[in-house]
């Protein structure tokens, strides 16, 4: 692929602005279901995403084959014109620097250079750890290596070549006793190369033990509790409860949410500071340029409890009159970019874990994320397991924990912020498209008045 080829597709564009992203995606993937390898695929594929801004209407067309370029261009121009007839205010794009750069991330062992046999052997070895134990009935362990080789050009002169390399190894371990089945997540992954998947035997041992321990745990009793969330859960909480509403495209058409989420609004506890920083090196969420050619930068979303920033694309930055952040990211060559979190986390505070437990007194200590969802004001997310805490002391283990809260209240209820920090290695946000590099984290946090579902 060459920039010249892409330029030839854009040559005939009649519009204020256009950009074209071409990607080659290389994927190695295999899955063990229990002891058996049940899926394997090594594939290479590619495609184009074209965006056109014409008469204030902005539209994108996704196409697979180069010869569809002219038809795609016509369609994009037609769609943009149609939008311009109905739109309330014409779309403008925030100004950004013209960039000419080629960027390949630093990798500790490039997965592309490692033989498939070695990847299979490593995964098989980890998968064997739980399977050797009694009461472990199955596993689902996947190796995924995904390389996006991206070319981006726009009519302003930007030309960017960037590679994103994601590797991950993990899945689930399932234990069973009597009629009870318990599933635990396990995995490692990131953007910094194959090396981080090595030497993970201890992690698989630890998660196997957890799957077995959970068979003895009790289902949680429903009700309202004060809870301590471990860093992984604090990350999911930050992502679901708040992060999505710092994405300008999610709230821009909701007048009532815009009103409640004005910059300068006191939204959280005065000790709470939340950042999104895709520039954090070697983290899962790392990238240099987003999918509209803007260099990403750290954004302080909440500073000491006050809303201070938002994540933007060029379109929303102009609409909101706020600074560009470089957060317009696509899943791959099949999608136009959406605004996505990069690496979102709560800034660590001063409180050691023991002190948080004492501060909690009676409540729950919840550990490990099981996915979440938000409907705007309300959010729900699951914990893998937890412990009942009485008088600051750890008591019985609990399971089947799903909790819910309210965006406008729960952030004010964060009453303790630990002095540790951990960022997630496995992503997977599904806002219309899947973002496997969605990274989140934080310290241990203490939150009051969380509703826990239970029988």
């Amino acid at each position: 692929m060459s920039f010249q080829h892409l330029e030839s597709i854009l040559t005939n564009v009649r519009a204020e602005y256009a950009d074209l992203r071409y990607e080659i995606k290389k994927e190695v993937q295999f899955v063990f279901s229990g002891p058996e390898l049940t899926q394997i695929s090594t594939s290479t594929t590619d495609g184009y995403v074209l965006r056109v801004l014409k008469n204030g209407g902005f539209s994108n067309v996704v196409f697979t084959e180069a010869h569809d370029g002219p038809a795609a261009l016509t369609k994009a121009e037609e769609n943009a014109q149609l939008i311009s007839r109905f739109i309330a205010e014409p779309v403008r794009l925030a100004e950004t620097e013209v960039i000419r750069d080629t960027y390949a991330p630093h990798l500790e062992e490039d997965p592309r250079a490692i033989a498939l046999e070695e990847k299979l052997e490593l995964t098989r070895r980890y998968n064997q750890i739980p399977l050797e134990r009694e009461k472990i009935v199955t596993t689902q362990i996947q190796y995924l290596e995904l390389v996006r080789e991206k070319w981006f050009i726009n009519t302003e002169g930007t030309r960017i070549r960037e590679d994103l390399v994601t590797t991950r190894l993990g899945g689930t371990i399932t234990s069973q006793e009597g009629g009870l089945t318990q599933t635990v997540r396990v995995g490692r992954g990131g953007s910094s190369g194959f090396a981080l998947l090595r030497n993970q035997e201890a992690l698989f041992e630890e998660k196997t033990a957890l799957a077995l321990d959970l068979l003895q745990a009790e289902p949680v009793t429903g009700g309202t509790y004060s809870v301590i969330l471990n860093p992984n859960l604090a990350g999911v909480f930050t992502h679901e409860a708040f992060g999505h509403f710092s994405e300008a495209d999610l709230i821009e058409d909701s007048p009532s949410m815009l009103e409640k989420l004005r910059l300068g609004t006191a939204i959280g506890h005065p000790d709470l500071t939340i950042l999104d920083d895709p520039t954090q090196p070697a983290q899962l969420g790392f990238y240099k340029y987003d999918d509209e050619g803007v260099a990403c930068r750290p954004v302080s979303l909440i500073t000491q409890g006050v809303l201070t920033g938002r994540l933007h694309s060029r379109r929303t930055a102009a609409r909101f009159g706020e600074p560009l952040t470089g957060h317009a990211v696509a899943e791959d060559y099949r999608f136009g970019p959406l605004i996505r979190m990069g690496t979102i986390f709560i800034q660590p505070g001063q409180t050691p874990f023991d002190q948080l437990l004492a501060q909690l007194g009676d409540g729950l200590y919840l550990i490990g994320a099981l996915g979440g969802q938000t409907s705007g004001e309300n959010f729900t997310f699951g914990a893998e397991y937890g412990f009942v805490i009485k008088n600051g002391r750890r008591r019985e283990m609990i399971r089947d924990i799903n909790m819910s809260g309210n965006l406008y209240q729960t952030l004010k209820h964060i009453e303790g912020i630990g002095n540790d920090l951990e960022l997630s290695q496995l992503g997977g946000c599904g806002k219309g498209q899947t973002n496997i590099r969605s990274c989140h984290g934080g310290p241990h946090i203490l939150v009051r008045d969380i509703v826990i579902g239970g029988r």
């Binding site: 495609g47 318990q182 409907s375 309300n378 799903n402 826990i452």
Partner: protein, 434 residues
């Protein structure tokens, strides 16, 4: 494609090619205004080969050099993924109506005008955020294999969703419509959406505890997901399903009958063969509360020594790229048999309870065990048959093998919705926390 098959057969004695072509337009209105139009022109090919009992797989969206695809599929044989089956021979043809040729003749302007009409109707006399999304697609699928199977189909799909959102939230009430061709969204449906919204917009905070819960059709997927997981041939083979040895035993309330029927072409995307070429048929999962069947693709049917029933589809939990996915046991065409109460009658019959119009976190919790713990967004509180308003931060939890043993009633109509065609379902004594 024949040339690709020939090339693949130079590397392996069995080969299968799945080809997809797709054109789609997606139109999005937010807060009553046109926001986005996205057009997709997509194609793709996947190749499976079987050699010495092992399965190889590769895909590409853009088939430029067939040799590369064959090489990648051959490389993947290294994993020695077992292929306990042969690709099937050509199925007997079934005539299905899957195409409305007029759908793609409409311009995007026509669709935008329909969206605009709905926005205006919903906006008038109501303080609410109105969102409308319209999608249409035209898809061609071709499946070839080395046993002479050579099938193709073309289907069209039209979907429109209209929603009203509560202030300060993205939770809302919705109505949708799907079919093979364009259809004007009936005003009656829109009027009932507005009416329900008006009644539920006020905040209420009832006392928590056990109560009746009416799941609207668009939320039923969250409960049925648990049954699907437990009846999936994969989980039966791995012995993680709680339903092993439960075939032909009463499991749920006798009012519940659930089946999969890809052949019903009154619904869009009907299929006569699955993504592996196995002929489709109606498959009963639950009949009068009794568990009747598990379901399989070729792999798990062979592993469990059962005949495959045509439930092998390239589907992903979170969407995913069709050609990139491996077929797996999937119930794509579920129907829950309606009961005999009107929706209004069901609501009137509730002494104290919730209407659930959206669930959060259906994917969390111990799905295989049948456990659920959903955030309800929105949940609407009903007392003595009257809607009093909506409840924030409600959660409902339970286990389907307990809660679905006591069904109060089912709505007298089933609606095509997420995950299947379902009526509303009224349950009793569900534990609700606020």
């Amino acid at each position: 494609m024949e040339a690709l098959l020939e090339k693949a057969l130079q590397s392996a004695p069995q080969a299968e090619i799945y080809q997809q072509k797709l054109q789609s337009d997606q139109i999005q209105f937010e807060n009553g205004r046109l926001k986005e139009i996205e057009t997709k022109m997509q194609s793709g090919v996947s190749l499976r080969i079987i050699k010495e009992g092992c399965l190889g797989f590769a895909y590409t969206k853009n088939l430029r050099t067939p040799e590369d695809l064959v090489r990648e599929a051959r490389d993947s044989l290294l994993g020695r993924v077992e292929a306990p089956f042969d690709f099937p021979a050509d199925p007997l043809p079934v005539a299905l109506r899957t195409l409305d040729p007029h759908l793609m003749e409409l311009s995007n302007t026509n669709l935008v005008e329909e969206g605009q009409r709905i926005c205006e109707y919903l906006n008038s006399g109501l303080q609410a955020q109105v969102n409308v999304s319209i999608q249409r697609q035209d898809q061609e699928i071709r499946l070839l294999n080395s046993r002479g199977l050579n099938q193709s189909l073309r289907n069209t799909f039209y979907f429109i969703n209209a929603s009203l959102h509560f202030p300060g939230s993205q939770a809302g009430l919705e109505q949708h419509l799907s079919g093979q061709g364009f259809e004007i969204f009936p005003e009656k449906k829109l009027a009932s959406l507005k009416e329900l919204f008006r009644k539920s917009v006020k905040d209420t905070r009832p006392r928590p505890g056990k109560m009746k819960v009416l799941f609207f059709p668009e939320t039923l997927y969250a409960l049925i997901w648990r049954i699907q997981a437990a009846a999936n041939g994969k989980n039966v083979y791995e012995k993680t399903s709680p339903l092993l040895n439960k075939l032909e035993t009463p499991l749920l309330d006798p009012k519940l009958t659930l089946y999969d029927d890809p052949l019903k072409d009154a619904q869009p995307m009907a299929r006569g063969w699955d993504d592996e070429g196995t002929p489709c048929r109606r498959l009963s999962i639950i009949d009068g509360g009794v568990l009747k069947n598990f379901y399989y693709d070729l792999f798990y049917a062979a592993k469990l020594k059962r005949p495959p029933g045509g439930q092998g589809f390239k589907s992903g939990l979170w969407g995913g790229e069709t050609v990139a996915l491996k077929p797996k046991p999937t119930l794509e065409y579920l129907y829950l048999q309606p009961g005999d109460s009107s929706l209004e009658g069901l609501i009137r019959s509730i002494d104290r309870g919730l209407l659930v119009a959206g669930v959060l976190g259906a994917h969390s919790g111990n799905i295989l065990n049948g456990d659920f713990s959903f955030g309800l967004a929105p949940a609407v509180y009903v007392e003595k048959g009257e809607i009093l308003g909506r409840v924030k931060e409600a959660m409902a939890a339970g286990n389907i093998y307990e809660t679905l043993k006591e069904v109060v009633a089912l709505e007298d109509r089933a609606h095509p919705t997420y995950g299947g065609t379902f009526p509303a379902l009224l349950l009793d004594r569900i534990n609700v926390a606020f």
